[in-house]
């Protein structure tokens, strides 16, 4: 059956009720702070706060890990790679042939790994608790983004779900014609590109038909009203405050600990 990208199973009870814009604000703020400095203190504070907030998602740590393991893996690999390649200063911790870990290189590695996770988690909070239709409503009604653009993107997103099905069907249909995923890598690559081209053709056809259907229903003619009102509540104030709090604590802690190194700082 079709992959439903537009009606995801939202998790948690509280966060889905908040306005997508306040969640977006908090997520962006926290992410930006982590990105500004490569140090393990600010990253650890942010990551720690995020882990404390996990119960809000209403899913167990295990379920979260199952969904996000590629990110965790990527963070570990990035951390390991950094520890291996970063400047080798400070006391030697481990030396084994060409492999050399020093205190500073391991510190950088930990910072990079934690930072990766700390950057990824706000996005996960946002994605798992936000309905795309609500986000579109908020962007158009509260941020006053052009509704043609916002609703067009939303309708396009729905087609993405259909295209996942289409890709599967195309694969089977081509196999039936004698071009399956088999043979040497070159043949496989050519087949993959051919199927990709077929998918693009179908995507364009679907999109142009959808555009006609939308136009027939008066879309894009001028002003419009909104059946669903995007509103801010007290909850949104809390969401924003928590975002500011996490960001502020992370900067303060890192500065006090002397680890803050502003990315854009020339030194």
């Amino acid at each position: 059956m079709s992959v439903d990208v537009l009606t995801p199973q939202l998790t948690g009870r509280i966060l889905p009720r908040a306005n997508p814009l306040s969640k977006l604000f908090a997520a962006v703020l926290v992410t930006v702070v982590v990105m500004l400095s490569i140090d393990w203190v600010s990253a650890a504070v942010v990551l720690g706060s995020e882990l404390l907030l996990l119960p809000l998602l209403g899913i167990s740590a295990w379920q979260l890990l199952k969904r996000t393991w590629p990110l965790v893996l990527a963070a570990v690999v990035a951390g390991y790679g950094t520890a291996l390649l970063a400047e080798k200063t400070g006391a030697v911790l481990l030396e084994f042939g060409p492999v050399l870990f020093t205190q500073d290189s391991v510190n950088s590695g930990i910072a990079i790994g934690l930072r990766g996770l700390a950057i990824a988690l706000p996005g996960i909070f946002l994605l798992t608790t936000t309905d795309p239709t609500d986000l579109a409503d908020a962007l158009a009604q509260k941020l006053k983004m052009p509704h043609r653009f916002v609703l067009g993107a939303l309708a396009g997103l729905r087609l993405v779900g259909l295209l996942v099905d289409e890709w599967r069907t195309l694969g089977l249909a081509r196999h039936a014609r004698g071009v399956g995923f088999e043979g040497n890598p070159v043949a496989r690559l050519r087949n993959f590109l051919g199927q990709g081209f077929g998918l693009i053709v179908q995507a364009i056809r679907r999109a142009s038909r959808l555009a006609v259907a939308m136009e027939a229903r008066g879309f894009g003619a001028g002003d419009r009203t909104w059946a669903r009102e995007s509103t801010f509540t007290r909850l949104d104030l809390w969401v924003c405050l928590v975002g500011v709090l996490i960001a502020g604590t992370a900067v303060t802690a890192a500065v006090l600990a002397g680890t803050w190194n502003f990315l854009l700082d020339a030194s």
Binding site: D4, R158, H175, A176, R177, V179, R217, G218, A221
Partner: protein, 498 residues
Amino acid sequence: MAEHTRKREAVSIAARGWSWRHAGRKRPAVQDIDLVVQPGERVLLLGASGSGKSTLLHGLAGVLGDDGQGEEHGSLTLDGSPPGRVRGRAGLVLQDPDTQIVLARVGDEVAFGAENQSVPRAEIWERVRQALDDVGLDVPLDRSTTALSGGQKQRLALAAVLAMQPGLLLLDEPTANLDPEGVLEVRDAVVRVLDRTGATFVVVEHRVAVWADVVDRVVVLAADGGVLADGPPETVLTDSGTRARLAEAGVWIPGHQPAVPGLLPSPGNPLLAARGLSVARTKRGPVVLDEVDVDLQAGSSLGIVGPNGGGKSTLALTLAGLLPPRGGALAAAPALARGAGTSPHGWKSAQLVTRIGTVFQEPEHQFLTHRVIDELEFGPRRLENSDEVTVRRRVDSIAERLRLTSLLQANPFTLSGGEKRRLSVATMLATNPDILVLDEPTFGQDANTWAELVALMAELIQGGGSLVAVTHDQEFTEALGSRLLRVADSQAVPEVAP
């Protein structure tokens, strides 16, 4: 209030010498149409493929675009205004349920048109409830639009149009992709809506019988421009001259069955046997059908029938060796396997095409090249023992038989619906498989293409081929003397033909 009362009023249509030529095409899609439709009239619009029925409907809906997208002559007006300027007065429902749904939830989808008309919020939701009530779609407003059946999706599309309170309802082959239950669902919903709103109504459809009792006027467009016949259904559909021309044009007329050859199947060698087979669409997805026993023999055909969503296509794709069986046994007899192993799913693509061919519902999914001739030669050229002469001869004879000879240099994507269907069948026949599997081969086909398909399939069976067709088309399975396997409630039960 006066504004709203006016909106509910039925619309009148006036076309005077109207023609439309799509940009980049030599011939006009519609030519010299003179037509006046009074407010509240219900019109069935007929004509051969290519007579421009859909173009006229799109024109009435005001979605043909501006001068850049085509060239217009004469005039086409709704209540005296060009349709593009009074958008929303006409509501258009299209053929494919999946490409006209815009939003994720049922309520939002119905509200979309009213939002675009700047209807106040409170009134929008009133209209949404009324529209869903009118089409008899009794699902929660937050139900996902992808979770609906085909008939439900079409009724949703109808409700979405109704919420705009159009004075003219335009339906472009609204039931072509639906199973028989879905067809009736949609037809009945339309009748209810028209009775309540009194809107003017124009429907385009191949299958006349569905709408003949509902409309009070039938208009037939001529293939070379103008109007061929126009009058009450009982007059137009009984006039022998008009009937003959309609039949020639491939329109399905009540009481007229396209001529097909009689066929008495004589089952021969066993080819493929399923025992306790369970099938699933994806590797981890749910099992849709369990404990299926079925045998395929040379020189016979099997029709897989039953309501949509029951797993018919999944079963067919599994029998075709394209999906792996989830459980049970599916074994090719030595006559079919010919040394390639007993499990069809384990065969290489090149082995599969000479043993089992599959024609998908959407022909475009199977087109691989940019010319019809390349399309036909593709399969034969990949076979091990293919020499130039054999390939040529085989392709020529198939092209001849399926009337594709004049189209050999054309791009497959530019063909008409019927031509695409013929080509997709031809590409499968080119490698001469023992078994041919077809998914809804007659969906949305006009009567001519239908008769051609039946004749071709009969020939195939007579020549010792084995046919599996997923279909709702009882006439199709009857004409081929198919055994029937009814799929419903995750079970597959053999059915004795009446």
